[in-house]
Symmetry: C3
Subunit: 667 residues, 3 copies
């Protein structure tokens, strides 16, 4: 990749009138150099079983090539045609809600051989046709793939074989999952009940893991088929996404991104986020750090918002800020979903770069400046290498287990704890990786943040203890270490094996009600000194207590502790603290880990990111994530501000407009 | 009609003990001169398949006739007997929620030939039996008919034929509905999926229109059967109802009242409304204006509340106020649902004129005064003719389309916009018609108010532009003109063709967050100067801007505009304003349209209505919709106050008790 | 019984490692002298159809016997094994939600002969095996039995036969239930529709009564089987439970406790309650008074919380307070659910006396003191006899009827009214029985409190009138007497036959909105003088009015009245009052009934309970239900404080620590 890609998803098929020439002219004017096509329109490309029509693909490829716009072709397998469902209703996934209904996308059983047969055929027809076309630079397999909760009898059958393979005997399964409880014990494989109604969290979590495995398997199967056609220089990618709360919030429950990404060449991602006054850059950073960490390499933002919804239509300047924030996190592509707003159906109000009138508008006009800057600054900004010394360790298994055993009140889930910690790092300008719990190479980090690692195998806890012993720094939150990989609560003093490195123990936990940290030890003020939702009654063994609870009966228990263990240190937060307290604890840990420096002279909303470019030069971004102008003193080596071209001296005061930013290449 | 009808729904069948004689004596004492019977008790009249028993009908008819009380006989088809469901479970409507269950009323498939066979038989048996009885003055067909969401395979099949008839080719259907999107394209009629699961709003809205057509068809079928028996002087009516929010709120989503009313002789309506401190008369006026406008004639209030629920039990005086408010809107009948409170089942707490003890009570006692006044004043108050110069244009299509594409937050729907505008007119004492979007004769109005006309054919928008060009005044709200009749967003600058008459354009819209109108241009005060939920970023072309947004980024866009176009004027409200702002905009438009006069010297809670009676004299009603006494200066020609019989001079100050009113006949 | 039993539910089957010896040693150290076993683990005891394995039962019985710990053996019938559901899916109850799914407990059709066959076999196998074991003192049949909403075709068929048996003719059924309404009339038994969809509250309530009968029948069937094995001195018990609101709130809707308890020897109960700052003792008292009243005898607390949830983990002292509160209500057993916390599945966070680490912890340590005191004080505290002069009369029928006809807003149900009145008595230290509406012996009480007796047969109302006439005192609340046993509203002036004793009548009722009691007649202050939710417009006939409504239109109606009738008095509360007003009304009634005395010198949070022990001595408990220390003047005869052994003089001031208590044996 020798340039930044600035793209849009493009649907010639949806256009109300013939527009291809006009669209391309407008794209060129905006610096768009990439389009993604074909991933949503199976029913157009195969109007009847075995009848194919790639007219719209052919004409778009030819026109884009002529215009010098690169193309990613998507396999159109995430939305099935009506004829398939009419012929074979069984391709619809049976879920805990019952049999499926035709209408929405992503409703099929991704294990159905009927579906797989037709999917393979359309993939081979389409990819075989386009792979030699000079416009095509790569492929997106499927789209935001998940398992869609498929759990019909065929899936249950595979699951039974899977657990038999994994556990060997029912005796072991019954023991690990505690199935004697409430007479759930299974004494013969034939008796295995559908998991749909289970009240056993161990069994339910195992099924969720199995379902995530189906996604991994499905993507690997698609990647292998596409791989047969892939030409030298072409890539296969996929657009992963996140827990959806109306925007991209946290760890995706239904996919193990690390496992699923192994079959693709370049990790891709969809990132949608609040905007206007609520734009913070946090989701851009979290999504980027997560995706970059999958392969330790630059990644594609395959979808992000242009205008989208009424509350996401960007303020002037925000579209630019967002685009360069992606690049600063290591993205080599920023692609909007989508080019033009759609005139019918479900996503009519999910607007693209063009409004429904398909003419220029303020957002499109701002995109033109992004496109120009991407083109001009590609030599300096493409392929940014990032080497972070901090990481946040996340876990699908912990997420699922905490869904089965939710925090009191069900107001917060696993991802709220992840984001509490991640966001605190972000606001402190401590750039980090977001790594999977199965990640082996911990040693390259000086600081690990481990939120709510509620379910984890002994092996992982041992590895984390060893990491500390060897000089690493870990900050754990409450709930970590509580259950094993089978969501069985450890029958030792908590937090299980982590007690050793953390120098603490507890056997009781309560729900705080008007509880604060005694004496406001982190000096955050009364408003931020409250703990909520969860508090463990911690007794230090070797740990130093950083905060005690202020409570008439539980004032003798610790809330936050720190322990020297071997060459390193382990911090433990035994309650759900405020963001301010989380920040102070991380500040202390980061200082101890040697991670406190020039970047920390500024904090959110002034965000600092950096990387090393192909020329070996460090590039530093300073973003103003606020609606007021703001200045800062540049603390680094002298360099050149890339947007304006001015040279910048160490110690120079730099002004940032509201939602503005500068990019400084050192040296 | 030469008298006001004062009626009750009467169910001899429900009585705990023999009461007919007592009931009639109490009715006579209260001036009740009409009862409606038989519409709810099919299982009593046909206890077994083909076995008929009209004992209760016969005896009630005879007794009522003897007492001089007129009778409307209802066809008992809205609640099916147990034997029918046992014999033919398929008469229950299959809906998106699944197969039906016996229990409630209005659960059948109104297209089922089994149901239609039995319904026709009971109608012919009942109406054939009673039509010559001298007590019978007319018939109510069915009861609050709707389609009950019937959508089983038989209905889907008819729908496919209907769309084929309407659109001709799938090519056109796919294009108009945008079915390429998410692979929803239908390439063969056999592949047409059930609409139940669709995510395509165009398809869904078409199905809703088709379902409304089933209601029109069903009522026409019943009216034709009853018509075979109808004697000279007898009428067929039906009780339409409204969007139900615990009371009659707005446009009925599931019935096209205008189309459905074509097969009946006199339009009828059910109006239920808040009471006690929340009584405003708004629902009485909205329901009355809507129903009167169906045929441009007097109408029947076939159901309204006597005591009803604990929170609706009227304060002293309110029952009178309500009854005469109906008459002032052009009703020739006020009928309570129902005579006596029921001692079992679902509507036990929906009390009638009598409480469960079946004796006199304060509400019944107040009804006696209404009955006496109705009888005495019928010559002056029956057949009031109303000629309004303003109208509110409403649309089932806009309602449905906005259900598919709801306002952000889903707190407000189409009817909230309708009522925002209607209620403002009501409070200003600008009487109006409520007309259907397909209404051709716009020229008779000086002022049209068009709330949220979100879906409309080009033809209608052209007609509205022409109306303005010819000298009419229109006030539009946001969302008008946005999509066509197929709920396809127009691909021109918004508000589509309305841009021409309104002199504005916009291509972006956002969700306001703490946005006001710059400088409080309508002088409504800070509290009322906020806009909420929706704001279009309007640029005037030829329009004058009445209000700008106050916003750090969007302050250059217009919120409310006014444009001279030809001989008329078009006002456009681009955001969801407060009631106070809506009122000010309407005041300005009304003044421009020459609609500001003596009635506007008073405003809500002092409500003014008027009409011309059979003697050609103007009758004016002044209602005090408040819990405090109130006075006003009578601004019209001298006349006679009909209740007290006093003469009234121009300029005379008149006192109104709390919840009181006067009726003045001019001349 | 010559000792207090201090027990735990024990599940050897759930233990992660071999622990029996350790567990028993820890039990002994805590004074545990009872365990309940086997009621949850059918799948362990019968791993395959007809294959039995009672290893864990045998070894636990032997080990417990050796340790001197008594055992209650439960029949394991409330949770069915997987093999049964695989072989016979029809054992799962079909409910209004559809067919059942395997997974949770209590999902079977308790009328299924398949289920009953297997249940009988396991009962005979298990109980036959253990009945002669010297450790076994009794049996718990099933567990918290309810009908689980079973309502499939077989249950419907039985129900039709049941109503035919009860009503004789459809004519009578149609009349009593008002089935003419909405064409629900049933004219042939074959047409009887499934009750699942009914909108007729009379029919629905009858079905609920029928379903409660199924529970009675099921428990009698089990008790008879177990009775065949029961040895002299052994007992059969069952753990009844309550309306569940996250804790034991009020009358159990699905079981008629009085009827169901007839087949067992000793009434048992499960009581769970809020804790920490929310601990009041109210649920302990309500549950105890309810259960003791079933047989007029001491009862077992078969389940109550040790630590349970994060918000229930007791403050220091609370476990003791709770245990002795049970005893003070007449419990002869306090048994925790359960011994050890479970490491998997649904109730992982419902912790036992031991935490998941299975070691000592603060709660366990406090239990040790309870066990020691129970052992030491058994001669003084076992078999306490309680003779209360007040009673609260409750009714399953009233509960169900008020579910069908809920209070406006649905915020409060029948049990809220029950608890309003019960809690007021509790706070006044007026100990009471909680008796079933069918209880014949009312004369033994001086004061009856009758909350919301919404459905009741004439016979009961007559009996209540007679009770007053003979000198009794009754306090009724609103809604009492309104409908008969068939939930048919009485067609006389309300409150029906109660009018006579209460000296009042009303025919209208409204929903209060900012309504107070005129002049604050109970001197409770503005905050507590509001009425809410419901107000009846009462006119006194012979009654004295204790409070009038303050309302601009309804100020002439009474809110609270009192009437002398014969030798007694009837008080009627016509609205939903504050707790403060309810307390004042009850205080007045208690004084009139001669129930005001020394115990009333203190009020909640200082709670007084008493009873007479086997030595014929009165034992008085003074509990401090608050987080602050508190003192009181001892007003009774001199005696000995049993915990400390100190003698106590009349008039002596006694200090109570926060959550502390004393027990004084008089004489």
């Amino acid at each position: 990749m020798n340039e930044l890609l600035y793209g849009v998803a493009y649907y010639d098929e949806y256009m109300p009138t013939e527009r291809l020439e006009t669209d391309i002219a407008m794209m060129k004017a905006a610096g768009i150099n990439l389009v993604r096509i074909a991933e949503s329109t199976w029913s157009t490309h195969e109007p009847q079983n075995g009848v194919f029509d790639f007219t719209s693909v052919d004409r778009v490829l030819d026109a884009m090539y002529e215009a010098g716009i690169k193309v990613i072709v998507g396999t159109p397998t995430y939305a099935v045609p009506t004829w398939m469902v009419r012929e074979h209703p069984e391709v619809l996934a049976e879920t805990p809600k019952g049999l499926g209904r035709y209408g929405a996308r992503q409703i099929m059983d991704i294990t159905s051989p009927v579906y797989l047969f037709y999917a393979e055929r359309i993939i081979r027809k389409l990819i075989g046709r386009v792979c030699a076309h000079p416009a095509v630079i790569g492929y997106q397999i499927d789209n935001e793939t998940k398992h869609y909760h498929t759990s019909g009898p065929n899936v249950q059958l595979r699951f039974v074989k899977y657990v038999r393979e994994k556990f060997g005997t029912l005796e072991r399964l019954n023991k690990e999952f505690g199935l004697d409880y409430w007479s759930n014990r299974i004494n013969s494989w034939e008796d295995f009940p559908s998991v749909v109604g289970t009240i056993n969290g161990s069994l339910g979590a195992e099924f969720a893991r199995f379902q995530r495995g189906l996604v991994t398997e499905f993507l690997a199967w698609q990647a292998a088929i596409v791989g047969e056609y892939k030409q030298p220089g072409q890539f296969v990618t996929h657009n992963f996404d996140f827990e959806w709360r109306g925007y991209s919030f946290g760890v995706q429950p239904d996919v193990n991104h690390l496992e699923a990404s192994k079959s693709i060449d370049i990790a891709g991602v969809d990132i949608y986020h609040p905007s206007q006054a609520d734009l913070t850059g946090k989701e851009i950073a979290f999504g980027g750090d997560s995706t970059r960490s999958l392969k330790g390499a630059n990644y594609f933002v395959l979808e992000t918002q242009a205008q989208a919804f009424p509350d996401w239509t960007p303020y002037p300047g925000q579209l630019r800020l967002q685009a360069f924030s992606h690049v600063a996190s290591g993205a080599n592509m920023v692609e909007y979903w989508h080019w033009h707003s759609i005139h019918n159906s479900f996503e009519t109000y999910w607007k693209g770069l063009l409004s429904h009138d398909l003419g220029p508008n303020p957002t499109y006009n701002e995109a033109k400046t992004v496109g120009a800057d991407f083109r001009r600054l590609s030599p300096q900004l493409a392929n940014l290498r990032k080497t972070n010394r901090a990481a946040v360790l996340v876990s699908n298994e912990a997420y699922t287990a905490m869904e089965w055993f939710p925090l009191p009140g069900r107001k917060f889930n696993y991802n709220d704890v992840v984001r509490l910690m991640y966001d605190a790092l972000y606001e402190l300008n401590i750039e980090c990786d977001v790594i999977n719990a199965s990640e082996a190479a911990l040693d390259k980090y000086d600081l690990l943040v481990v939120p709510a690692l509620y379910a984890a195998p002994d092996e992982l806890l041992a590895r984390l203890n060893e990491y500390v012993h060897n000089g690493g720094h870990v900050v754990y939150t409450f709930k970590s270490g509580f259950t094993n990989d089978n969501v069985q609560v450890r029958s030792v003093t908590q937090p299980g094996m982590l007690s050793e490195a953390c120098g603490i123990q507890y056997s009781q936990f309560v729900e705080p009600n008007n509880v604060t940290l005694k004496g406001d030890p982190f000096e955050v003020g009364a408003e931020h000194n409250q703990v909520h939702t969860w508090m463990e009654l911690i007794e230090p063994t070797t740990a130093e207590v950083l905060a005690w609870y202020d409570h008439p009966h539980w004032g003798s228990y610790a809330a936050v502790t720190e322990n020297r263990y071997g060459q390193g240190k382990a911090t433990y937060i035994g309650c759900f603290p405020s963001a301010a307290v989380a920040s102070k604890v991380l500040e202390r840990a980061a200082k101890a880990a040697g991670l406190w420096g020039a970047d920390q002279e500024n904090q959110f909303p002034l965000i600092v990111k950096s990387g090393v470019n192909d020329n070996g030069r460090t590039v530093r971004f300073y973003f103003n994530y606020s609606d007021a102008s703001r200045s800062f003193v540049y603390p680094r080596q002298e360099g050149r501000e890339l947007l304006a071209g001015d040279s910048v001296a160490t110690g120079q005061r730099i002004e940032l407009a509201r939602w503005g930013f500068v990019i400084i290449e050192e040296g």
